[in-house]
């Protein structure tokens, strides 16, 4: 069954790639990028390196699990290092509907799990330069998408799509994304702030094919206004290993790995 599924997914990707020559609209391109197959679950080790203006770094190792349950995507993360935050865990449930995410944090020193409610998706993820939205939480309908041009960067043929926020108070006035034609991977993305000044640049350094699915394993987000950057490197990526849905509970958070 699993093999069949992969074959289907792979075929779909291929079909998507071949049909790219058809006249796709900006919205269609972004939709394909958003809906790019990611597998039902994923396990990986994330090494997040924050680099500040002075070139100093903070390195955090996190093991993470995500599972797509149809209309809910659940993820859980356990900090492995630095030592003083080991076993701090974070869980989030994000919904396909308009409902805002549910988030929990467990602090081992406090021995309590706490709910975090936040009205804003523009929160920065783990103190990095990525917001939750940047990591894929953005809804397709939130922006108006226009295909600007087609361009080849680093040998990749890309669509260049501009996405303008419909909500004026949103932290980005617009983003411009270079989406690789055959894989629909967002290869590079520029984020413009409320005043339409360039704020951040996301670049993909490396992506790998695991179980027939493209996984971005090395990406870097640079905040050009603050001269601050975050690199995210994934290792030990495993896809569709059948992570149990029962892993994503408050009780599991307190257990650690």
């Amino acid at each position: 069954m699993k093999t069949l599924k992969i074959v289907i997914v792979a075929t779909l990707i291929m079909v998507a790639g071949f049909s790219a020559n058809a006249q796709l609209t900006g919205t269609e391109i972004v939709e394909k990028a958003y809906n790019r197959a990611a597998g039902d679950d994923q396990t990986s080790m994330l090494t997040m390196t924050l680099t500040n203006k002075q070139g100093k770094q903070r390195v955090r190792k996190i093991s993470q699990f995500t599972k797509d349950l149809g209309d809910i995507e659940k993820s859980i993360m356990f900090f492995q290092s630095p030592a003083d935050v080991k076993n701090t865990s974070f869980m989030s449930w994000s919904y396909d509907s308009d409902k805002s995410d549910d988030q929990w944090i467990y602090l081992p020193a406090l021995k309590k799990t706490k709910r975090i409610s936040s009205d804003s998706k523009s929160d920065y993820f783990m103190g990095s330069d990525f917001t939750y939205d940047d990591l894929g939480d953005r809804k397709l309908e939130a922006d108006t998408h226009n295909l600007l041009k087609e361009e080849t960067i680093d040998g990749n043929e890309c669509y260049v799509v501009e996405s303008i926020s419909k909500d004026e108070d949103y932290m980005y006035s617009k983003t411009v994304t270079w989406i690789i034609k055959d894989s629909f991977i967002g290869y590079q993305k520029e984020f413009y702030d409320e005043d339409e000044d360039l704020l951040k640049i996301l670049s993909i350094k490396k992506y790998e094919e695991t179980s027939g699915i493209f996984v971005i394993t090395n990406s870097e987000m640079k905040n050009v206004q603050k001269d601050h950057k975050t690199s995210m490197v994934l290792s030990d990526v495993e896809i569709n290993t059948g992570v149990s849905a029962s892993k994503f509970t408050e009780r599991m958070m307190t257990r650690g790995l």
Binding site: Q54, A109, M126, Q225
Partner: protein
């Protein structure tokens, strides 16, 4: 020398033409290349350890001076109109080129992190401006319950809310200030008032206002001096030629600065002041001599008169100018570049004034002819009689001069004990000026407009500031400083975030508003804050490795007494921190200003002492007698002491400008002394009579010195009408110094000269 000068007499036109052509060239250079330096950071010695560290710390923590925009509404700020104004002003400030978007802080940009029964809640206070009563009330409650914002971004009485916009170095200009003011103006309504304050505004206004006021006042000073000079010399030609010496020497100085690409600093505006005071002296002495010569020899030709003038006067003019110039050159010992430049260029100006006095003035005589002088009246003229009488009286009551001088010195020394140094900028403005009133207004509603940054440095020991013991000590220090000193409004650092997170994670219970006991707990709270708040906030208080901490104290005054008293309390904790391996350092503009002022004064006192020694040695060589060197230094010493003594009694703090004035005391004091001693020497040798020599000297040099003093004193008293208080102080102190030097020379110095018997030894 004399021969050369006499040769020049044959070619007066060439002298004048050459002077004018070179001046014109300098003027063109000035027009093209002169620039003002308003960035105060540029004044500071970049390699001084305190500045090096401060600059680094400013970089680590993003410490910048902030412009404070305060929005006031007597009906309270939690209404649609005020919150809308706050949002719009925040956005407009963020869009300005001089301001980094992320460096604008207000209720609109702030996060509200609150504890709930089962967790925590991170929200902006508002994004779109609310209009419903219910929403407005919610914002009000949120602000009141958050100690990170209540009293910091919104005043406790809820009538004022502030926007803090940090600006980049080197961007403050008149245009920027006006842009801010007009921006703010747009939002004023009958209910809403908007005020602008903060150190960049104060610094910028001062850097612009001082020189601008000088520009306005100097022509008036020059005009008054010209008028008084005319009254004294009773000749248009003489007056204009004397003033041309001042004019040309000033022009050459600024021309040369322009050629060498040296910008005009605030202290450079003191150069014309010095040159006016010193430059007129040579002319006055020359003309005074000429007049006396013509009275005795009414039939002399202009050539004869000029030759005689040069013969008798070139020596004292050269001597005074060289000693004065060397006095200014001693300022090269200062560590502060603008002061070094000030010293060297004033010295250059003084020497140029000497050259012009000895060339242009005689050339002028040759071209325009001699000034008209009334022939001596029968029975001697009034002035000479006065001078003779005065000299006689002084010499009769020799002990009176000595005793009075001694008493004045003692009183001055008492006054000097009270002198204090002030690096404040605000104190330089009128008490009722907008800038001072706005500052007071904001200080009365918030922590304070002046920041003092304490940097605690664990010297590379990572995670030192996650240690609860260290954090508790930091908090203890914060509390002590805040409680002991009324001048300190608030303080802010990592402890505030840790306390807040502890409280939030414990359902907002007040008893958890403390530092937790476990280091892991601290680390986890900080991680949580990074994940939920703006991580940039933490970067402003602690570095990436948690080994350097920035504690910001908000002070309600920027004067040195306030800053020093805060430093004193902080220092009580130095040993405790040392035990933890943590050292204390400081950063920020307030602290740098303090160190800078100390540096200036230290250099000033050094150069004062140094130049005093040089002057004594020079005078001793010139007059070939160490006694005369010492006697000549007496008026200088008295002038400096009186000047500092009066500042002490009148509570005028030493600042960069008032300290520089000690140079003028020396410059002028030497002039008077040298002219007087030289004349006394000539007269002693000529007459061989002690009393007659004194009387003749008084009638000659004493007269010229009094003219000089009257002219400059009247001129500088004009500065008392200046709109900029430091310039008023300057006017008063220059006048005072002139007066003391004059009185000192013709009384106590005369008495000492007389009693020392220097020129009468052989006869005994």
């Amino acid at each position: 020398m004399e021969k050369l000068l006499n040769k020049f007499l044959k070619t007066p036109w060439i002298i004048v033409a050459a002077t004018i052509i070179i001046s014109a060239l300098f003027f063109m250079q000035m027009k093209e290349n002169t620039r003002m330096e308003t960035d105060l950071d540029k004044y500071m010695p970049q390699d001084h350890p305190a500045f090096v560290y401060s600059d680094q710390a400013e970089e680590w923590f993003g410490i910048n001076d902030g412009i404070i925009v305060a929005i006031e509404n007597q009906k309270g700020v939690f209404n649609t109109a005020t919150l809308d104004t706050l949002k719009q002003l925040t956005r407009r400030l963020q869009k300005m080129d001089e301001i980094e978007k992320a460096d604008v802080t207000s209720l609109y940009t702030a996060d509200n992190i609150v504890g709930t029964e089962d967790g925590m809640d991170v929200k902006a206070f508002y994004k779109s401006v609310p209009s419903s009563e219910e929403k407005l009330n919610e914002i009000k409650l949120n602000v009141e319950n958050n100690e990170m914002t209540f009293g910091r971004l919104v005043s406790f009485d809820e009538t004022v809310t502030v926007i803090i916009a940090e600006i980049r170095d080197d961007v403050f200009t008149q245009e920027f200030y006006e842009e801010i003011l007009s921006l703010v103006d747009e939002y004023e309504t009958s209910d809403i008032k908007v005020h602008v304050a903060g150190r960049p505004i104060v610094e910028g206004t001062m850097a612009l206002l001082g020189p601008a006021d000088m520009k306005k006042m100097v022509p008036i000073v020059l005009l008054v001096i010209t008028l008084v000079l005319f009254v004294m010399l009773r000749s248009v030609k003489s007056t204009l030629l004397t003033m041309s010496v001042v004019f040309f020497s000033t022009l050459w100085v600024f021309g040369l600065m322009a050629v060498l690409g040296i910008p005009i600093y605030a202290v450079s505006t003191m150069i014309p002041v010095m040159l006016i005071a010193i430059g007129v002296a040579d002319g006055i002495h020359l003309y005074s001599h000429l007049q006396l010569f013509l009275r005795k020899n009414p039939t002399a030709t202009k050539k004869e008169a000029s030759v005689d003038m040069i013969k008798h006067m070139w020596k004292p003019v050269v001597m005074t100018s060289i000693t004065t110039a060397i006095g200014f050159v001693s300022l090269l010992t200062s560590q502060v570049y603008p002061i070094k430049y000030f010293g060297i260029f004033t010295a250059f100006g003084v020497l140029m004034a000497m050259v012009f006095s000895l060339t242009v003035i005689p050339a002028g005589l040759m071209i325009f002819g001699l000034p008209k002088v009334k022939a001596a009246k029968k029975g001697g003229d009034l002035e000479s009689n006065l001078a003779y009488g005065f000299a006689t009286k002084i010499l009769k009551r020799r002990s009176a001069s000595i005793i009075i001088t001694a008493v004045i010195i003692v009183i001055s020394i008492v006054g000097m004990q009270k002198i204090w140094i002030n690096s404040s900028f605000l104190d330089k403005f009128e008490k009722d000026s907008d800038i001072v009133l706005t500052d007071q207004f904001i200080n009365s509603h918030f922590g304070g407009t002046t920041s003092l940054n304490l940097v605690l440095d664990a010297d590379g020991k990572k995670d030192a500031f996650k240690n609860p013991d260290v954090l508790k000590l930091v908090e203890k220090m914060q509390n002590k400083v805040e409680n002991d000193l009324e001048i300190v409004g608030t303080s802010f650092t990592l402890t505030d975030y840790v306390n807040r997170m502890n409280k939030v994670m414990n359902a907002d219970k007040e008893e958890f508003n403390v530092i937790p006991d476990s280091q892991d707990m601290v680390a986890q709270y900080l991680l949580l804050y990074e994940m939920s708040g703006d991580p940039e906030n933490l970067n402003k208080v602690v570095d990436y490795d948690y080994e350097k901490l920035n504690v910001t104290f908000q002070l309600k005054s920027d004067n040195s007494k306030a800053i020093n008293s805060t430093l004193d309390v902080i220092h009580e904790f130095e040993d405790d921190f040392k035990k933890q391996g943590i050292s204390m350092k400081y950063a920020g503009s307030g602290y740098k200003g303090l160190v800078f002022t100390d540096l200036i004064l230290e250099g000033q006192i050094m150069s004062l002492v140094l130049s005093l020694f040089i002057v004594i040695i020079l005078l001793s060589f010139m007059f070939k007698d160490i006694k005369l060197g010492l006697i000549g230094a007496v008026p200088i010493i008295v002038t400096a002491l009186v000047s500092f003594g009066i500042m002490g009694f009148l509570d005028i703090p030493l600042s960069t400008t008032s300290a520089l004035l000690s140079s003028i005391a020396i410059g002028i004091g030497i002039d008077y002394a040298v002219h007087f001693i030289e004349q006394y020497r000539t007269n002693s040798l000529k007459t061989g009579d002690k009393v007659l020599a004194a009387q003749k000297t008084m009638a000659h040099s004493g007269r010229a010195i009094s003219y000089n003093a009257i002219v400059v004193i009247t001129g500088f008293l004009v500065l008392l009408f200046s709109v900029f208080p430091p310039n008023r102080e300057l006017g008063a102190l220059v006048s005072l110094n002139m007066f003391t030097s004059f009185v000192g020379t013709v009384t106590v110095m005369l008495v000492l000269l007389y009693s020392s018997n220097v020129y009468f030894k052989k006869k005994k």
